[in-house]
């Protein structure tokens, strides 16, 4: 479980995150949603330690990330996997070498074992055939899958995904969503996904927090997101024509009843 308590983060005096508190549960896909510029990426980067909060606590199963010593921090980092928006695969390495990288750095297993583990991760994301290709030789969806394989190579306890569907077609987005969801369940990870894709929200969102202008505006589940009366959330959710029509149809059906 990851818990953030009273996180405040500002840049040049401008408050980006204003007293955010939330709990991200183990074994669930926890979503952070919000419009572009709402502060969700800053929140995710603060949770994973790429940004330091001005105040507040980030607790990883009780361990306060903000106050950890360098050695403890490095241990905790090895329990994390991250899927970046642009995949962030290392250009100079093949897909297999990318997946093996965290194993090469931190595992004391012999080479054959590390290679076997990397191939297992690639098979888990249905990408064994691309093992010897370079990132520039594969598609965006394959890059995301390779990045997921790399993220799970060390059997992490926490998985973070920053806009996992950006730049992907709807069908591939669905595949990536399902993959993240299945992996979360299989490995009982705490998964935190930062997204503004409503399809992902409905497809895999188990617990959801909605951020608007740096303030936690709403929290709930994917079932509650459609029926919520929160105006800011409704403005965000029903900005999509598809969801607006779904809402209209639901309204009409209720009237008929």
């Amino acid at each position: 479980m990851v818990e953030v308590k009273h996180i405040i983060k500002s840049f040049d005096g401008r408050v980006i995150l204003n007293d955010i508190s939330a709990i991200f549960e183990t074994g669930k896909t926890n979503l952070i949603i919000g419009q572009s510029g709402s502060g969700k990426t800053v929140l995710l980067k603060t949770i994973i330690g790429l940004l330091r909060p001005d105040s507040g606590q980030i607790l990883y199963d009780g361990r306060n990330f903000v106050g950890l010593k360098k050695r403890e921090l490095n241990v905790l980092r090895r329990e994390m996997g991250m899927l970046f928006q642009g995949s962030a695969l290392f250009d100079s390495m093949t897909v297999l070498e990318n997946v093996m990288f965290p194993l090469d750095m931190f595992s004391s297993d012999p080479y054959k074992e590390r290679e076997k583990r990397a191939m297992f991760c690639l098979e888990r994301v249905n990408l064994p055939d691309a093992a010897h290709l370079y990132p520039s030789e594969i598609s965006g969806g394959m890059m995301k899958r390779a990045a997921i394989a790399r993220a799970i190579a060390l059997n992490p306890m926490y998985l973070f995904c920053d806009e996992p569907n950006s730049g992907l077609d709807p069908k591939t987005s669905l595949l990536i969503d399902d993959l993240i969801h299945d992996i979360t369940k299989d490995y009982k990870m705490t998964t935190i996904i930062n997204t503004h894709d409503m399809n992902s929200v409905m497809n895999i969102g188990e617990t959801i927090i909605f951020i608007k202008e740096g303030v936690l505006e709403w929290r709930g589940t994917s079932d509650e997101v459609i029926s919520s009366n929160n105006k800011a959330l409704n403005d965000f959710v029903f900005a999509s024509d598809l969801f607006r029509k779904v809402k209209e149809i639901e309204g009409q059906e209720q009237e008929k009843k």
Partner: protein, 248 residues
């Protein structure tokens, strides 16, 4: 002034982070070999070509410009050797390499920064500066002396080739006599030592500019240019200081 001090502070902190014990030696040596090949061995041909031509031109120019009967002809070989050993093969060659290798390092690390590859390493708990920069610095410090020796050798060969052109009375025998005349082997060591310092300057400054890129592709280009300009200035400054310390 404030910005300069801030940059100096950032550079010092980056070097502190870089020059630490690697997490995994096997990975470090793998990277080191890659960097020696990519940054050093890949520069061998350009060093050889430039050195041959510059050695030839130095000998030709000296021959054309020394026409006094009071100056012996072996002076051409002697002067060519001194120029090549003392300045050309170390300082000028490293200025050229600052352009080639420095821009390569800054753009590579800068691109990794803007595409979040460095962030990905940090998230994994890898000391990205140590993993990426240390092998580049060490690799260049190991291989630049080799390039300098090649440059000295081929530069002098270029001069010998020019002596066969019989320009203004220059002969191969007088040139070869000049090459051996009053030879001080310390100059070779001095030149190699300078090149090691230049290698550190090139790799560390270029890495600093690449590592601290903020923004996108345009900023990577700017960082690359700044890296070449700054490392060239620092090479010239180091040249003055080391010449004063070691030869005066």
């Amino acid at each position: 002034m404030n910005e300069a001090l801030q940059r100096l502070g950032e550079y010092t902190l980056l070097m502190r982070k870089t020059l630490s014990i690697p997490t995994r030696w096997s990975m470090f040596f793998k990277q080191l070999i890659k960097e020696i090949y990519k940054l050093g061995a890949d520069s061998l041909w350009i060093v050889i070509i430039i050195s041959i031509f510059i050695g030839t031109v130095i000998a030709m120019q000296i021959s054309l410009n020394i026409s006094s009967p009071l100056i012996p002809k072996f002076t051409i070989g002697y002067t060519t050797r001194e120029i090549i050993l003392l300045e050309f093969s170390s300082s000028i060659m490293c200025l050229i390499l600052a352009g080639k290798v420095g821009s390569n390092i800054a753009s590579e690390i800068g691109t990794m920064r803007v595409t979040e590859q460095i962030d990905a390493m940090e998230i994994m708990g890898v000391n990205s500066a140590n993993f990426l920069i240390f092998p580049k610095i060490l690799g260049l410090m190991i291989f630049i002396p080799v390039l300098v020796i090649f440059s000295m050798f081929t530069g002098i060969l270029g001069g010998i080739a020019a002596s066969y052109a019989d320009i203004n009375g220059m002969t191969p025998s007088s040139f070869e006599y000049g090459l051996q005349y009053y030879f001080n082997s310390f100059y070779i060591g001095y030149s190699i030592l300078k090149s090691v310092v230049y290698a550190f300057i090139i790799a560390s400054i270029a890495s600093y500019f690449g590592y601290n890129v903020k923004g996108g592709a345009l900023d990577v280009g700017k960082a690359s240019t700044n890296a070449v300009v700054m490392s060239s200035i620092m090479i010239l400054l180091a040249d003055v200081i080391m010449t004063h310390l070691m030869l005066t």
